[in-house]
């Protein structure tokens, strides 16, 4: 594989996150209604406003985070670009990756909540919100690189 494989975070996750946020808000409101008899009104109002503002912030930030996330994989290295308020560019040489962990959540074919974690000595790199196919392909590339490194080092044990 000479040319880099470019991936972007799965945009479907934004829709599912909105649904999840809506459900969370509804659930929190029900909880506040249930405890309204036991807790002072002021506290309920403050809690409701705080939760709502955090949720609004998340609903604004999350889609932008997903839209700008970008990953490039070659046989030698992995490059990540994440974040929009604090932009983070990461470079991970595959020679330092000891193992790769793939996390696939239930219904991830629909939701896009798949994660790939590159485990290196002293650090971890997470590629979040991938499609299942992307997560599988990235894992295969990285595992192949690890295997060829082990095979080439196998002779001298160094």
């Amino acid at each position: 594989m000479d040319s880099p494989k470019c991936c972007r975070a799965c945009r479907r996750t934004v829709l599912w996150f909105f649904l999840f946020a809506f459900g969370l808000e509804a659930g929190f409101k029900s909880l506040l209604r249930a405890i309204s008899g036991y807790v002072a009104q002021n506290i309920l109002i403050i809690a409701d406003m705080t939760f709502a503002s955090l949720l609004i912030l998340a609903v604004i930030v999350f889609p932008i985070y997903v839209l700008v996330a970008k990953y490039e994989i070659t046989q030698r290295d992995v490059k990540l670009r994440k974040g929009f308020f604090i932009i983070s560019h990461q470079y991970v040489p595959l020679s330092s990756v000891t193992s790769v962990t793939t996390v696939t959540t239930p219904l991830s074919v629909l939701t896009g909540f798949n994660f790939v974690v590159l485990n290196c000595p002293g650090s971890k790199s997470i590629m979040p919100f991938l499609t299942r196919r992307q997560a599988r392909e990235i894992s295969e590339i990285v595992n192949a690189a690890i295997k060829s490194r082990i095979e080439s080092c196998g002779g001298d044990g160094e």
């Binding site: 670009r81 308020f85 604090i86 983070s88 560019h89 470079y91 991970v92 290196c120 000595p121």
Partner: protein, 502 residues
């Protein structure tokens, strides 16, 4: 024939014991607070005037529990053993020896032997074997052996180093006192805390006097002497005592510090009272760290630490390679002890123009502390004296941090020269100059917040090999220069058109 049979039994017993831990381990396998049960039993024995029969009748259940615990400890001691192969050590540890750990000598990063005063009397020695793997337990292998067996393992593993003459570094004793003083339990933090407590003692004592004077008439007998001032004094004395004990233990831990360089290993010996031997595998050393506080920097002294998995992991252990010396001597000695690491000239540096970025946060924190104090003085005018004191104690660390960051603003840098990488940065109050190999870098991250994007700077975060390696943050460097230098050295990033056009 009986004699031969006895000899065989003795031989078997010796063989059996030679691969078991020191019998002192039976005591350590027993419950930590077993002595509480023993004290209780002893108390009843004394109370019954050593009437054994009635004592057994009254405490038979406790005695049964004690025997069960002793039995379990003995069984565990029997089940835990080790085997020495030509190229590996195999240990059967854990509960009833169910955990089998195989470590090849080639994979060992650090071998440490530790013998305290009591262990010295009992001729036992704790052996710690570490590799770069992130294992479930704190240490890959930890066993307590007889001193002779521990030294046998030590010599087997280090036999290659024996044939090579090496450079030997010894730390003078006066320097060790200074090293212990500087590296004992955050001396400046302790000094601040002691000052706070002493001042609190004075304030509460004066507060009581003030109350007495204000109620001078017949109500004197109603004033309660809370004597709270004495508790502050006691707390201060206690903290001072704890610091002193920490200083003495640090000093004894690193007394007679010697470092010998061999072909494949560094052999480090130190300690008075509790003697420690460390064998560091040179190919698994991750980096050298020339550490200085601001005061050390002013007096041109520094300490050199080495990152090697397992060394410096134990409680209160500092991973010292050169405990303390002048900066010039440290650089020369480090070249001789660990010539594979060398310092190189910086290629990306900060400048005075970057100073605002470094000092803005601590300066704001100091100003906030002072402003808060002024506001509180207006709200509580009667407590003015106490508030001024608290205000100063809160602002002082941030003012000092601002001064330190002023120096950091002109000394932060990154340099690459072939395989050698040198990083100079300041973390909180400590300056670090890290020498590492390019091959030990596992990840490079460039971070930019909105302010950094505005001023064209960035923070570079470099991760290195090691079980629990610290990341190195080089902040406030020019973004374009950094990107160019990193690209030249083989670290490329995804092009970010919007920000790269700045």
């Amino acid at each position: 024939m009986n004699g031969t049979h006895d000899k065989k039994l003795t031989q078997r017993a010796r063989e059996f014991l030679s691969f078991r831990q020191h019998p002192i381990k039976i005591v350590r396998y027993m419950a930590k607070y077993l002595w509480l049960l023993l004290l209780s039993l002893a108390k009843y024995l004394i109370a019954s005037h050593f009437d054994i029969k009635s004592w057994i009748e009254a405490n038979w259940f406790d005695l049964v529990i004690l025997l069960v615990i002793l039995g379990f400890a003995f069984i565990r001691w029997i089940m835990v053993y080790f085997e020495l192969g030509k190229d590996r050590i195999i240990t059967h540890t854990g509960f009833l020896g169910m955990t089998k750990t195989v470590v090849y000598f080639d994979d060992i990063t650090t071998l440490s032997l530790s013998q305290g005063a009591i262990s010295y009397l009992l001729r036992s020695c704790a052996v710690y074997i570490e590799t770069d793997a992130d294992c479930v337990q704190a240490t890959d292998i930890r066993i307590d052996l007889t001193k002779s067996k521990a030294m046998e393992i030590y010599h087997i593993i280090s036999q290659k180093a024996k044939t090579q003459p090496g450079f030997v570094f010894k730390s003078p004793k006066k320097q060790m006192v200074l090293f212990s003083f500087l590296f004992t339990s955050a001396i400046s933090g302790t000094a601040v805390l002691l000052t706070v407590l002493y001042q609190a003692y004075l304030i509460t004592d004066r507060e009581f006097d003030r109350r007495v004077i204000s109620r001078v008439n017949s109500q004197i007998h109603q004033i309660e002497d809370s004597s709270i001032w004495i508790y502050f004094l006691a707390a201060g004395l206690l903290i001072g005592f704890i610091w002193l004990m920490s200083f003495i233990s640090n000093l004894l831990r690193h007394w007679d510090f010697t470092c010998k360089r061999g072909k494949n290993y560094l052999r480090i010996h130190s300690g008075k009272g509790a003697r420690r031997h460390h064998l560091l595998r040179r190919k698994y050393m991750n980096y050298l760290d020339f550490t200085q506080t601001f005061l050390m920097r002013m007096f041109r002294i520094c300490s050199v630490e080495v990152s090697c998995t397992g060394y410096g992991k134990r409680w209160k252990e500092i991973s010292a390679l050169i405990p303390i010396t002048t900066t010039k001597d440290a650089v020369q000695s480090a070249k001789l002890i660990a010539p594979e690491f060398s310092l190189c000239k910086p290629q990306v540096k900060t400048s005075k123009a970057c100073m605002p970025g470094f000092i803005v946060l601590p300066a704001l924190a100091a100003v906030a502390a002072i402003l808060l104090g002024i506001v509180m003085q207006n709200l509580f005018p009667l407590r003015r004296q106490q508030i001024i004191f608290i205000e100063i104690m809160l602002a002082l660390p941030f003012i000092w941090l601002t001064i330190v960051k002023c120096e950091a603003a002109v000394t932060t840098s990154m340099g690459f020269d072939g395989e050698n990488v040198t990083l100079s940065y300041c973390r909180w109050y400590t300056f670090h100059k890290v020498a590492l190999k390019r091959g030990n870098i596992t990840k490079v991250t460039i971070r930019r917040n909105p302010l950094a994007r505005m001023f064209g700077t960035c923070t570079v975060v470099i991760y290195t090999t090691g079980e629990d390696s610290r990341k190195h943050l080089i902040g406030g460097v020019n973004y374009k220069n950094t990107l160019r230098i990193l690209k030249e050295k083989g670290f490329s990033f995804i092009a970010d058109k919007a920000t790269d056009s700045e």
